[in-house]
Symmetry: C2
Subunit: 488 residues, 2 copies
């Protein structure tokens, strides 16, 4: 498995680097089914940690998990006109089952609004039954023509939150709350600082009144939509007769939201922190936070060093550090170092016979990123064991700070001249902030000419202090400030 | 939601009781898709606890999670001849996707041996890459004609373990180890004591060399297959060219196992412990272990009682008890009691103004099952808070002991006469142990005449001390002792 051949460099071919890294860090592999991938244990371990982090946050904000059917009657999908228009081109259809042709074809869920709100309608009679705050962890299928590991696959894993409220204001509050939950998760756990804001009409979820999104900047300066949260208004509740009795005794359609993130986040993590040697994992999402590599020649040395490795691992585990001892006899230390570097393990501890004799440990960070802490250091064992658990959160913070600095370095505000704007986009300069008149024509024109799209109308805190006055495309008065980028 | 109308009694119509309970305890609901159900939050909460309990055990025995595609090329399923014969009648087939007819139809996984061993073949070169110990949490689809909530649905959630080994002995050991893990989980967490044993050839998994199973006795004395573990030999590795270089330098096909349990376990839990008032949950799998119901008339009383409820909940939560305070203003205490009884919460704590004044709590168990502990008891608050966390494991044990006693009471050994055997089966008397000559003809004849099947050839510890000498059907020498029952 150890393969010492280096990866393509990011600067040479970012896309090739990404694919090689995903395959060689054993995060995922291609499957025999077009567009579907296999998530290997190391990649799935990262996803499990993401799930735990998200699920805890969903529960802390009052949501409960449930599970709805994979297969949805085609007629359900068709009830909400914009919804079917958005998803029809990419659904997979079951026409036969149990040896017979079905009377009505079933669609593999591309998302579950239709089936879920049909059930909510059955469960809710009055305002007393609201709000409903649910989430589902599930697989979905969207038949994509051009796929990339984690970023765009025909089947992917995700969570989809679905809620129902008695008032429009509550639904809007919920949609924004969950956007905030996503942002906080991405910053705290992924060390990835997204912008947050609203999508323009052309980029809205099919069937939503408003779509909010987290947009992160990858190292190649392309944007990546990392999570979305939708205020669905009453669009779906009208189609599924989802009504409730109000406190005043009247009847009203319920107000819905939905919100989701997917295994795409694993790809985002790779492209946010990875380097030319491979993956770089923030400790919060590292299945292995510390790998201990024993170094020995003789059997006696082996016993000595492995005993010490066991002690070191136990002490660290008591501090809730996830430790792995790489005791494989089939590989020498060098290839092991390469492998764990490629897999992005935050800390490596090397223990040889001389270290044991001197009560020392060699501690190596995956990346030279904490100010004033050397990448590699020989430390007294007792000091190392106290220091490592404390440095993991420092390393986590340092990764976030580096990512914020990179995002800001590649954010361009106050761009008012179309030629300059175009040059920045052509140069893959990152996020470009401009004014926009609000017309779909200007949006489409810029997209056609530059391949950049409006990623977001940023929320207040991301807006420029000097708000742009003119639309970058037509020069008329700006209705909004927007963020442009080429994107995944 | 509170509905004080009683359930059908188990003795009157067990099947009706089961369906009503599942719906009215809000474990699950019917969906608009034939044969698929919706798992509601309360039912899913039980499943999440089961997942946690199982996943911890899988990881403790060295397994890692991964994820493989939902859609499998039809040709893959067809490679293993017995496998396709077993599953062909119940697969759902995707013929169209992305607006086009597919060149090769894709099957929604009914189980994932084929796709997984195809991937293993790609990853394994030598004996050094073995064993592979993987598990997947996933949904599967098997098109069933007659479905029942949790017990038999067209789509269900499960885990499927898949392993590959260098030797036949290791694979056999693994298959038996996981059978033991299932049994221990069912006893410890579900308080459900299954028999374990081997399936006869006619009941074997399609493609397996040997199938082991956990078989539990439900309260209507029907057997329920609760988990299976298969030694697959080299059957799949031959079809998928899954070879490895042996230590001696030769080449051999790998040896595989697979094993799974599903959301069916939720149904098994209901039918093991439920009573005429509703669900009875063992504390280990109760999403709510203690429900606190405040009792008040005035606003002042409400404030007083809710404050106390908060204190009680906090103390219990520090002892890692899962507590819910039912502070709904829309329901009186009586309907709340009914609802939580129906939902099987192990302990109810009632707090009224007089309790607060006297520093007392009223503690009510869902069922009168711990020897020498009354079902309802007024206790000093301090005593109650120390006692409840200690009584939860006692209650758990008492439920297991009651289930073991019931299983033994309804197990009939030493049955040698076919008429007596038939009467026991007709009387729904439970597990009937007999001799069996080993012929498929005798097995089929008994099944046709009595609707009973051989549930298991029991493992050593479940065998009768006096081993039966004659086959119950033909009277010739018995090759095995077997356990018969009518089953789900």
């Amino acid at each position: 498995m150890a393969d010492e051949k280096g990866l393509t460099k990011r600067a040479d071919d970012f896309a090739a680097w990404y694919n090689e890294l995903v395959l060689r860090a054993e995060l995922a592999d291609y499957s025999p089914v077009r567009g579907s991938m296999v998530i290997r244990p190391y990649g799935y371990g990262i996803w499990e940690l993401m799930q735990r982090g998200l699920d805890d946050r969903f529960k802390a904000t009052g949501h409960q998990n449930a599970y709805f059917p994979l297969l949805i009657p085609q007629s359900y999908l068709e009830r909400e006109k914009q919804h079917i228009a958005g998803f029809a081109p990419e659904v997979a259809v079951v026409t036969h089952a149990g040896g017979k042709e079905l009377e009505e074809p079933l669609v593999i869920r591309p998302t579950s609004e239709t089936i879920i709100y049909a059930m909510f309608a059955k469960w809710v009679q009055s305002y007393r039954d609201l709000p409903i705050l649910m989430n589902q962890w599930a697989n979905v299928v969207r038949w994509e023509l051009r796929t990339r590991l984690f970023l765009r696959t025909s089947e992917f894993l995700w969570q989809e939150g679905h809620t129902a409220h008695a008032t429009e204001a509550e639904a809007e509050e919920e949609a924004r709350r969950m956007l905030g939950v996503y942002r906080e998760f991405m910053e705290t756990e992924m060390a990835m600082p997204p912008l947050t804001g609203e999508k323009t009409e052309s980029e809205r979820f099919a069937g939503a009144v408003r779509t909010y999104a987290c947009e992160a900047l990858m190292q190649d300066n392309r944007g990546l939509q990392a999570g979305t949260s939708h205020n669905l208004g009453q669009n779906f509740s009208r189609q599924f007769e989802f009504r409730f009795q109000t406190e005043a005794g009247g009847e009203e359609y319920a107000w819905n939201t939905s919100w989701g993130v997917s295994t795409r986040l694993v790809g985002a993590l790779v492209m946010t922190h990875g380097d030319d040697a491979g993956l770089v994992l923030p400790p919060a999402l590292a299945p292995i936070q510390v790998v201990v590599v024993p170094i020995y020649r003789t059997e006696d040395e082996r016993a000595l060093v492995l005993e010490k490795a066991g002690t070191v691992a136990n002490v660290l585990r008591q501090e809730r550090v996830r430790v792995h001892i790489d005791d494989r006899d089939t590989l020498k230390p060098g290839p092991k170092f390469y492998e764990w570097e490629r897999k992005g393990v935050p800390v490596r501890v090397e223990i040889g016979p001389r270290d044991v004799a001197a009560q020392k440990l060699t501690v190596v960070f995956r990346r030279d990123i904490i100010p004033e802490v050397p990448r590699k250091e020989s430390m007294d064992e007792a000091v190392a064991l106290m220091t490592i658990p404390r440095r993991l959160p420092e390393y986590q913070r340092a990764l976030l700070e580096a990512a914020i600095a990179r995002r800001e370095e590649h954010s361009h505000r106050g761009v008012t001249e179309y030629g300059a704007f175009r040059d920045l986009i052509e140069a893959a300069a990152g996020f470009v902030y401009t004014g926009w008149c609000g017309s779909a024509e200007c949006e489409a024109k810029v997209k056609e000419e530059t391949k950049a799209t409006i990623r977001l109308i940023p929320l207040e805190e991301f807006r420029s202090s000097d708000r742009p006055e003119r639309c970058i495309a037509c020069g008329s008065g700006a209705a909004e400030e927007v963020v442009w980028a080429r994107a995944y």
